[in-house]
């Protein structure tokens, strides 16, 4: 077991290094730089050029990369050109928001997927099952951004039930109950919009898994022995079907990352996804590099986590 984890970690490390180089070069290749946005006749171009020189923006990429890596090793992700503050502080602010958004999305996803999947699998080919599969079909086909746009429009603006931007109402003190409630209020709609879509694959998976398991020998045996139907489901079928879902949650992280870019952009939610888009547009290289790297590491660790859980659940995988 430990050997497996160590081996996986061993592979993970060069992945992260290569990822960082690729991202760094790509970010550098974007036209313009963080100071391009300062085109303003009231600002002296010479001052901008001086800043460029001082920030090292005129150095070749490998010099900038080695400077950057030196910093990263010491836990310093560099300075945001745009926000003029350490990237790590900037990301810390945003990461908390994205973390809660992702967590709530996951909770919603499973809270919806598990009952729906179970209902649809247990009573397959009933009208309820058809309704649920119908939803999964549409959910599978509907792009996330269309769903999210409709959600904002209907629940945010038309009914006005939820706020449509930001992560918390202004002027509340962190730590108070109102603050918590306000945060939650700002999270509900974006998290739900994303969950509506991410649920789909889990529902489909669970449904077919349950239908499969229903016909397996040990279930048939259990039934033949006269075990009550509910016991058969609770004891045997669900346990068997749910375990892999628990394991997949690590893989969900990549999906959440992609989704957060759309969701945060549509809901003006100040998280990592929005920070990424802003930084690409503003050419804030150090932030772009760091955000992608952190998302990359999160995805890598998520996959690692899933692999570990899976290997515990299903020892055959370990051999790979």
């Amino acid at each position: 077991m430990w050997k497996f984890i160590v081996r996986r970690l061993f592979v993970t490390f060069p992945q992260i290094v290569i990822l960082s180089v690729i991202i760094f070069i790509l970010a550098q290749m974007m036209p313009g730089d963080a100071l391009t946005g300062l085109i303003d006749p009231n600002i002296d171009p010479a001052a901008i050029e001086e800043q460029r020189e001082r920030l090292g923006l005129n150095n070749p990429w490998y010099v900038q990369y080695s400077d950057w890596v030196k910093g990263v090793v010491q836990g310093d992700l560099g300075q945001s050109f745009r926000y003029k503050m350490p990237v790590s502080d900037l990301i810390e602010q945003r990461m908390i928001n994205t973390f809660w958004l992702s967590l709530l999305t996951l909770i919603f996803t499973y809270a919806m997927a598990i009952p729906l999947g179970i209902i649809s699998g247990r009573w397959n080919d009933t009208w309820l099952d058809r309704a649920i599969t119908g939803y999964t079909y549409i959910g599978f086909a509907a792009p996330l951004f269309i769903t999210a746009l409709l959600m904002v429009w209907v629940f945010g603006f038309h009914f006005g039930w939820f706020p449509t931007g930001g992560s918390v109402a202004p002027g509340l003190t962190p730590g108070t109950f109102e603050y918590f409630i306000s945060k939650l209020q700002h999270l509900l709609l974006p998290a739900f919009s994303m969950a509506v879509i991410t649920t789909v694959s889990t529902v489909q998976y669970l449904r077919s898994e349950i239908i499969d398991t229903k016909q397996k020998d040990f279930i048939v045996t259990a039934r033949a022995k006269g075990a009550p139907e509910s016991r058969v489901y609770n004891r045997h079928i669900f346990r068997n079907s749910l375990l892999p879902i628990a394991a997949f949650f690590g893989y969900e992280i990549s999906g959440l990352i992609g989704g957060s870019i759309f969701i945060e952009s549509i809901f003006s939610f100040p998280g990592m996804g929005q920070l990424f888009l802003d930084s690409v547009l503003l050419r804030d290289y150090s932030v772009v590099t760091s955000v992608v790297l952190i998302f990359g590491i999160a995805a890598i660790l998520g996959a690692l986590l899933s692999d570990i859980i899976l290997s515990i659940v299903d020892p055959r995988i370990r051999i790979k």
Binding site: F140, P143, G258, F262, F295, A303
Partner: protein
């Protein structure tokens, strides 16, 4: 149409080896009325869109008319005009064509790369397999969407081709992994061993024998990928990292809805595109799911 051609190619080689594969797929589709309707719908849409766009001039459609801005649907403009006085219907046709073409191109390019790599990796196994799988692992964990966005900002003049290439570069891994695992199974089978002892070259075995046996699974995967790829294109355009307005796509049309005035007051600009994309993706998925069932004997309907 490209898709049909591929089908035909694969079909031709398939019939020699295993006559059952294709007829099973076909039979499943015909049995499943929904899938059949979806398929017909798809083919009709393709024919309609590609057919009509032959008679449409993209330059003419994106021509600005100051005196026809934001016209609601009327006799002259079936679906009205956008903020440049440009005909939405024409943009919808060309846009659907562009989106479909990108989807198909990406599916084909990424599919080809994935199949080749998966096949080689699975067939030879050992170090080659190891190296290839490390590569796949690496690409799998990349935050793809973000890297594509950065890429798009770098490539200054992108066309349908360059855009498809960028997207394909990050979408070949799934199919590679799938083909590799199937190829691993295949190579242990008797017919491969027999061919080997008969002295057939690896190349020949791989492409003339193993590949045709995997054709049905390839088609299933590619069909499902097609839907996803169309979705990704429109998503990027929506975020503003897709095509310029002079090259309309379904995504650019929907992204007009980001302007609240358009979303609220001028549905004819974005709604048809949104409905069309939903219908297209539903239809492709329906066909894909039916095909998938066909390859899975347990779920087959007949």
């Amino acid at each position: 149409m490209e898709m049909n051609k591929v089908n035909a190619d694969v079909q031709a080689s398939d019939q020699v080896r295993s006559p059952s594969g294709f007829s099973i797929l076909w039979r499943e589709i015909v049995r499943d009325k929904v899938a059949l309707i979806s398929l017909i719908l798809l083919i009709l849409t393709c024919m309609f869109v590609y057919g009509i766009s032959l008679f449409l001039d993209q330059g003419e459609i994106v021509k600005v008319d100051l005196f026809a801005i934001h016209e609601p649907p009327n006799d002259q403009f079936i679906l009205g005009t956008d903020y440049g006085g440009r005909d939405v219907f024409g943009q919808l046709i060309i846009g659907t064509r562009n989106s479909l073409s990108i989807g198909i191109l990406v599916t084909l390019i990424s599919g080809t790369v994935g199949i080749l790599l998966g096949l080689i990796s699975g067939y030879f196994g050992g170090h080659i397999d190891n190296a290839a799988m490390r590569l796949v692992d690496f690409f799998m964990v990349l935050p793809t969407l973000m890297i594509v966005i950065v890429f798009v900002t770098i490539v200054s003049d992108y066309s349908i081709w360059s855009f498809s290439l960028i997207m394909s570069a990050f979408l070949w891994m799934g199919i590679a992994r799938l083909i590799r695992s199937k190829a691993l199974q295949e190579r242990e089978l008797d017919y491969v061993q027999a061919s080997k002892t008969l002295g057939s070259s690896n190349f020949k075995i791989m492409f003339a024998q193993v590949l045709p046996n995997l054709s049905s699974i390839i088609i299933v995967t590619m069909t499902l990928n097609l839907a996803a790829n169309i979705g990704i294109e429109s998503g990027l355009s929506f975020l503003g990292f897709g095509f310029p307005e002079s090259t309309p796509s379904l995504g650019t049309l929907i992204s007009y809805a980001r302007n609240p005035q358009t979303l609220e007051f001028r549905w004819w600009i974005w709604l048809p595109a949104a409905i069309l994309i939903l219908i297209l993706m539903l239809a492709i998925n329906n066909v894909g799911q039916a095909l998938k069932r066909a390859t899975d004997a347990r779920q087959r309907r007949g």
